[in-house]
Amino acid sequence: MSGPNGKKMSSLEHMNVVITGHVDHGKSTVIGRLMADTGSLPEGKLDQVKASCARNSKPFEYAFLLDALKDEQSQGITIDSARVFFKTKKRHYIIIDAPGHIEFLKNMVTGAARAEAAFLTIDAAEGVQENSRRHGYLLSMLGIKQMCVLVNKMDLVDYDQKVYKSVVRKYTRFLKNINMENVKFIPVSGMEGDNIASMSKNMPWWKGDTVLTLIDKFKKEKAPVDLPFRMPVQDVYKFTAMGDSRRIIAGTISTGTLKLGDELVFYPSGKKSKVAGIEQFNGDPPETVPSGAATGFTMSEQIYTKRGDLVVRAGEKPPQTGNVMRVNLFWLGREPFVRDKEYILKTGTERVRMKLFDTIKVIDASNLNSDGMKKMVERHDVADCVLSTKRPIAFDLVEDFPQTSRFVIVDGYEIAGGGIIREVIRDNKANYRDRVMDRNLKWDTSDIPRESRSETYGHAPSLILVGGPEDKRKAAFAKTIEKKMFAEGNKVYYLGVQNVLAGLDSDMEIKRHQTYPEDREEMVRHLAELANILLDAGIILVATVSGLTYDEQEMFRTSVSPETVRTVWVGNTDGLEVEADYVITDVGEASEHLESVMKMLKTKGIGK
C-alpha cells in the first residue's frame, strides 16, 4: 500500500475501492482521468503519453496512461496493472482494477473481496449490459455494501439528463432484485473529465457529487467489535516437544471481542469452557482482543476441540449446526457444478466433503433470467441451491452474521465457487444433535483434564462399534477384541446391547424382532449416552449393536464427538449401510481376523 505519495500512508486513513464494469464501458479511462485531474501522475507523464500518441498519429486515450505507467513500476511509482494509488486530503486510496480478460471474473472477485467500496461503470449510450448486472450481483454476494455507479460517456449522449435517468431507473430496478440498497449514481464522462475531479459545465442539471467528492464519502467499515463473539478454531497448539506445556486455542476473531474469563461454547459439539488466559508471544498479555485480531487463549477446562470448530460466547446467539443448507453461490470453475460429484466445502476453518443436493434456481447472472429446470451450475452462473455436507458443521446465516456464513467450494485442487448460507435445513438427525449440544452445555466438567487421563492411561478414549446382523458370535468376537486390548494394558470395556436392555432399558417393551422403531431409537440413544460417559472417563469402549444403521452410527458419532469412532462389521453385508473400517463377511471366521482388526485399530490411533 504505497506509492510515491504513499510513503507517509500510515498517518492517513486507507481504503481499498474496486472498479468494475462491462468491458469498454470506461474503467481505465475514468481511472486515468482521475489520476490526471488530481495531479497524482508523475511529472511530465501526461505530456509524454500525449506526445507519443501524436508521434504515432493515434488519438490520445486516458486509458493509455495506465499502460504507460506500468513501465514505471520498477521504480515503485504510482500504479501497477492491478492497483492504482492516489490520495485525497482525507485518505489514501488503492483503486483495485481487476485486469485480465479470460480470467477476469476470478480477478474481480479476488479484488472486490479486498475492497470496502465499489465503482461500476455503465456506458450511457450502450446502457446496462450483461456484465453490468453480473458484477453488481457478485459485489452484493461478496458483501460490498457501498457502491457507486458511474454512468459514463455522457458526452456521447449530449449530456442528456433523460438518458442518464433511464440508465439509473433500469439499473436500480435490477439492484432492488438483488437486495442491494443505497447505491449512488453519477453521470460522468471519463474522456472529457465531466464530474470526475470537478463539476461538469456540460451538465448544469447535475447537483450531486463528483467521483472525487464521492469517494471521500464512502465510510470506513467499523470493525465488528460490538457484535456477538465468533472465532473459528484455526488450530490447537501444544508444542510439548519444544518444552512448552500450554495448550493454546488459536484463531482469528471474525466478530465481537474476546475477554479474559469469558465462558465459551465450541460448536458443533456444544462443549464449553472458560478463557483462562489470552496468550501473547511478547509484551503483556491483553485482557481483551478485538475482531480481526489473530489471537490464542488457554482454557480452564480442557475440553476437546479441533480446527473447524466455531467458538461463541455462552449466552449469545448460538450458531447453526447441520449438514444440509440452502445457499446462494457463484461459480467460477471451468467444469460445471453438478450433482453426484464430491466437492470440498470450506467455511471459516472448517473443511468438509460435500455434494450438490439440489438446484432450486440457476440464474444467468447477466440477465437474472432464472432457470428452475437447470440441474447444474455453469461457469459464471449464480445459483440458489441446497448443499449437503458429509457431517454436521457449525456456521451462521447471512442475515445474522455475514462473515461466518461465507463458504467456498473446492473442485479438485481449485477454489471453484463461493457463496453465503441462507438457511439450514433440518434433517432427521437434527433433534438428536440439539439434545447432545444441550447436554454438553450443561455438562459439569471434572477438574481432571482429558489430556491428563490420556497421559496416565497411555491412550486416548475411543469407541469401537461392532455391528452386523444378529448373531451371538459377533458379541463373542467383540469380547476377544476387549481381551486382546486389555492384555496390552489398555483401559478397555465391553458393552453389549443386552446389558443395556436388561438395566437401563428395562422400562421399554423390547422383544427380539419386535422392537418398535421409536424404542430402538431410544435404546441406541441410551447406548450412545453411556458411550459418551465411558469415553469421558477415558476408556476405550467396545460396543456391539445388531443391525447398526447409518443413522445410528451417526448418533454415536454425534454423542461422543469429537472422539474417535471406528466400526467393524461382522456378518452378511446385505444390510450394510454404515461406513465400516473393517468388514468380516463370514462370522464363523471372525477370530482369524483378530490380528488384522487390531492392526487397523492401531493405525487409526486406537489403544497403546
Binding site: 521504480q75 511509482i77 492491478a82 476470478k106 488450530d235 489473530a294 461465507r406
Partner: protein
Amino acid sequence: MDQLSQLESLGVHILREAYANFRNLCMLWSIGKDSTVLLWLARKAFYGHVPFPLVHIDTHYKIPEMIEYRDRLTREWKLPMVYGENKAALEAKQTYPDGNVDRINCCRLLKAEALKNTLNGSWPRYRFNHEADEYQVDKDTEAYTGVIVGVRSDEEGSRSKERYFSPRDTENAWDVGDQPPEFWNQFKTDFAPGTHVRIHPLLDWTETNIWEYIEREGIPTVSLYYDQGEGIRYRSLGCGPCTHPVESDAKNVRDIIVELQSGKFANIAERSGRAQDKEDGGGLETLRREGYM
C-alpha cells in the same frame, strides 16, 4: 486496530493456515529485513516456536555480517535452520564477477537453481544441529510443498498480481495470467502432486510498514542496514559483489523511517541498489518465473 496490527494479524492468520494445511512446509529466510519480519511473525503465530524449517540459500557471496547474524539468531532463538547451495556451480567457478558467467547467470545458478533443488530435495540440505552446534546434512530430503516467502507487492511490478497462496508447477513456474481466485480469507491449500504453493504473508506490507514494525517490535536486524559512520548503508541486502550501499546517514530504525517518508528515497525504488534488476529489462521477472523468490 491500527494498520500495523491489521497487517500483523493477517500475516499470522496466513502462517497458521499454512501450518494447518501443509505437511511439508518451510519458510525462506534471506536474512534481509522482510524475511526477518516474517520470522518474527512466525514466532508470534506459534508463541515463540518456529514449527517448520527456515531455509536459506547460501550463495557463499553474501556479505559476511549476514551469515554471522543468521547463525547468531539460529542459536539464540533455537531456530530449525536449514541451508542449501549450488555446490557444482561454485566448484566450477560459474560465478560473477570472479568466475566465468555473467551476472544474471550467476544469479540463476547460485539462487534460482539452488533454490529449486533445495526445495525439491534433490540437492543436500544442511540443517543446524543445536546439540552439536554445527550444520549437518539433513536426513529429510522430501520436497517442500508449501514455501513461505516474504515478498511484498510494492517491490516491483510482477508482484502486484500475486496471491497470498500462489501455486507453482513442477518447474517452479508461475502462471501470472491464470491465478486462483482468493477471497474471504479462503486460500488455495489443495495442490496437485508435483506442484507446490508459495505463501506470501507480507504481500500487503510496504517498505515503510516493515521498518515501522521492526521499530515497534524491537526486532534485531543486520547492522548493514545502518550507517556506521561512513555515510553509507545498505537498503536491500544481497550478494557482496552485486549489492551496493546507498549514501545515507540513517543510523537507526527511526532515521530510516524518516528518510523513507520525507527524505531522498521517497521516490526511488528500494531495489535500485541491486545490479541484477537492471541488467535486462525483465531480468527479475525472468528469474522470478524460474523460482528465484
